[in-house]
Symmetry: C2
Subunit: 575 residues, 2 copies
Amino acid sequence: MSSLLGIFLFLYLFLLLSSISAKNREYKWKVEYLHWCPDGVDGIVISINGQFPGPTIRATVGDTIFVHLTNNLPTEGVVIHWHGISQIGTPWADGAALISQCPINPGEAFLYKFKVDKAGTYFYHGHYGMQRSAGLYGSLIVEVPKDEKEAFHYDEELNLLLSDWWHKSSHDQQIDLSSKPFRWIGEPQCLLMNGRGQFNCSLAAQFSKLPIPQCKLRGDEQYAPQIFKVYPNKTYRLRVASTTALASLNLAIEGHKMMVVEADGNYVQPFFVKNMDIYSGESYSILFKTDQDPSNNYWISTSVRGREPKTPQGLTILNYIPNFASKIPNSPPPLPPLWNDYNYSKTFSKNFFGLMGLSPKPPTRQNRRILLLNTQNRIEGYTRWSINNISLVFPTTPYLGSIKHGINNAFDTKSPPNTFSKNYNIMKPPPNPNSTYGNRVYMLKFNTTIDIILQNANALGENVSEIHPWHLHGHNFWVLGYGDGKFDHKKDVEKFNLKNPPLRNTVVIFPYGWTAIRFVANNPGVWAFHCHIEPHLHLGMGVVFAEGVHLVKNVPNEALNCGLTRKMFVKDKHI
Amino acid sequence: MSSLLGIFLFLYLFLLLSSISAKNREYKWKVEYLHWCPDGVDGIVISINGQFPGPTIRATVGDTIFVHLTNNLPTEGVVIHWHGISQIGTPWADGAALISQCPINPGEAFLYKFKVDKAGTYFYHGHYGMQRSAGLYGSLIVEVPKDEKEAFHYDEELNLLLSDWWHKSSHDQQIDLSSKPFRWIGEPQCLLMNGRGQFNCSLAAQFSKLPIPQCKLRGDEQYAPQIFKVYPNKTYRLRVASTTALASLNLAIEGHKMMVVEADGNYVQPFFVKNMDIYSGESYSILFKTDQDPSNNYWISTSVRGREPKTPQGLTILNYIPNFASKIPNSPPPLPPLWNDYNYSKTFSKNFFGLMGLSPKPPTRQNRRILLLNTQNRIEGYTRWSINNISLVFPTTPYLGSIKHGINNAFDTKSPPNTFSKNYNIMKPPPNPNSTYGNRVYMLKFNTTIDIILQNANALGENVSEIHPWHLHGHNFWVLGYGDGKFDHKKDVEKFNLKNPPLRNTVVIFPYGWTAIRFVANNPGVWAFHCHIEPHLHLGMGVVFAEGVHLVKNVPNEALNCGLTRKMFVKDKHI
């Protein structure tokens, strides 16, 4: 009896102490358009509290985040998605417009309230229209509790948020993409690091064959690079996340080997690389030692992958203290792998494994396998992306509300296709490019194990197949394997890594290839799964999963004040 | 007894016949952004059903208009204001965002339903943010019943909708105007006639001293002028309305005298002019005879008034049939009055009188006189316009809903100032430029007669006072007089025209002058009264009137599904 009492007492004290150490972190955010100069050219960003990128949130595992968001955009709704946060118990706070909530109207406020339950490198961003492209993003870092240690050692920490930037406003880009004939937005004008890039000049002009002037900066310009100051002979943790609208990137730190230790908030088996790919929606922690000649500074560079690069390298300086921050490195910036060297990228992606002992293992069997064919299509003359020949358009009622309250006419309740035609030739443009708009939902049986096979294919043009980084809301998933060509249910399944697959929330599909993932549908809510390239999602490249929605509780009215969920709460038909 | 029966029978038949002749006119409108080329430069407009300007509505007095509007803008709300329509019994259909209704969310539909009860020349336009500037407008023409005659004779009818156009999107302009430091939008690049203008060329290049090329047009370009085809020796009614964002205009038809017969849907005592001023928000009918040499074509021209013109004349051709439409007139386009010849404009404005016998007369006494001082101000470093030192910002709950339902915390319920300091020197910049944001409402006692004195003043800069055309929703008003300098309660009142003042819904105040109007607060609802220059309204230049709101019935729920009106219909606090 006394030992049982002891256990109870221990548990009680433990819970008491955790609840003391867990904090409520409150933020008041005002979202508004501001003139900004991210790359030396006057532009407009969506800012938070006058900042671009938005403020960095730093919290500790177990904390509850309260963001009181006021929308000060003049005529547009807004939401914020907390990328990588599972939102267990708070699916309405996921910030996916018309999936988890109604857009917050101009002038109105909304309270995001959610717990951060896993340490890692995350970020947040707009998830309505193309507001992420407009600059609505920032970092979200969750630290291990003070009395716990990470699975790796480091002395100091740096944070790097990557994005891409166009001189045409994302408002206009969005209209271009929805035009007939199609107007493609083209490659970004600039790659940004923590919201800063240089368009009309280069930090490395002296090494360039192009007639571009050397940047002359005082350092207080909005587009002056953020210099990364380091002490020699230390181990640094670089947290890096990519919220690019389009660009897949390769990151390098001149002369410094990088050890990858975390991916999307999950431990991975550490491995060394001299440079690394990072796709939109991904985040990493890498460790590097400042073990190079301390009298020099070194380049930190990003370069475009997978699309013929028309955008200059993003550059900033790793500044060994006490050198001048403005001291230009001795050598030219690192040469990235060739933009279309996909083997290089595949090799990199296949380096990832779960960290033995710390990474949970996947269930050995799946209950349902869904194949998702990614194709570029046309609908009524518009260019679209489709999944199993359906191009996603969002309903005006958030799925979370319509499913929870059994509103049947809010979206097409037919099941979306579980697979695509066996005869489909992924190596050729679609024989019939016509597709249809749709807003169906994959209803997943609660607590079942789901395999998704993302199947890439040829786009509308001959010999074109693009990279798509797919992001899943509300979950991490195991990446079971990648392959070239068409997925084979027998051969390929046998090669699945069920032993130590990495956990991720974002994974890429390579041109003409497939990627297999597994997750457990154990998070009550409605969750988007989509290509994280914002123009692709805008053009329909996504699907929606729903699981255990009947278990969802305490959805604030404010989350469901639009569409049919609004009407169901109205007492009188005529006021 | 039989005579009484006869009267009843007559009344019955009359009502029956009117209800038979009155039609329901139904329209399905889809509002969306489209690439368009209004002046030869690629741009973006808000279109309706793929058209810019939107479709012309033609109806007959007594008809009921049903516009089923679907908002296809990707992230922005939308509304449409039916400019000049009284909305008796349907104040919720006035289409003033956050006054009469909530903005219609993206993807959602709203039914505007209202009666057109007075013949005249009207138009409609967006009334949220600066969506009017983006091209959301069109003509609305109400004809007298078939068996009735207008108070004037004409053979044929022409329709001309005037607007101005910038190459910067109105979305970006709006952000500029709300920037610190202030970024003024500048003068329009082009004046449009029925949505068409020429920026890179001129129809009258051969007469120009500027090195601008002659337009070479096939005629099917979106920016090719709409040619006005006329037969010789006929009388034409030209309906003209101005929905400019900024520009005050002067309109001329080369060689043709114009007789003004209608203003804002009201008969006026006809008078002749060789050219006429037209301010944003005004509409007119003018008659002209095609009595010139029929072997020539003639210019129709518009020119900027009241601001140093940096915008070329708007031009199209009055094409005498059977001349070629493309035949350029023999003479240069009409020379407008000097842009700052305000005496010219005042003389023109003072030409207006109600049409004896057909125009209703004003009540001889007012019950309340409100003086509204128009000043340019600064608030926290932002440039704003204020009325009696309050700069209007809209609440997030439409006034119509919050007042009708007695929600007290939706806006500042204190009375706004009825007047301004007697010592205020209107000839100088404000001694203390600081003003405050506000959203108070002038509560008008139902069925009382209200006089408004609009008092102009010096703007922030020395020796600057601008033209402001003020538009009243839900009402026509009598223009009792104009004057220079500061309004004098004794002397000036004595000069009021109570005999035959013109009825209008829009009236101008001249630099450093005042304008007096009178109306009866007999239309239950909440009504905006504001400067019709869209950037000025955006910067706070307006007030709100409420009258008899308790009498308002049958407001559709859809009109009040935002802000606090939404919450009051929610059954449970937690769904």
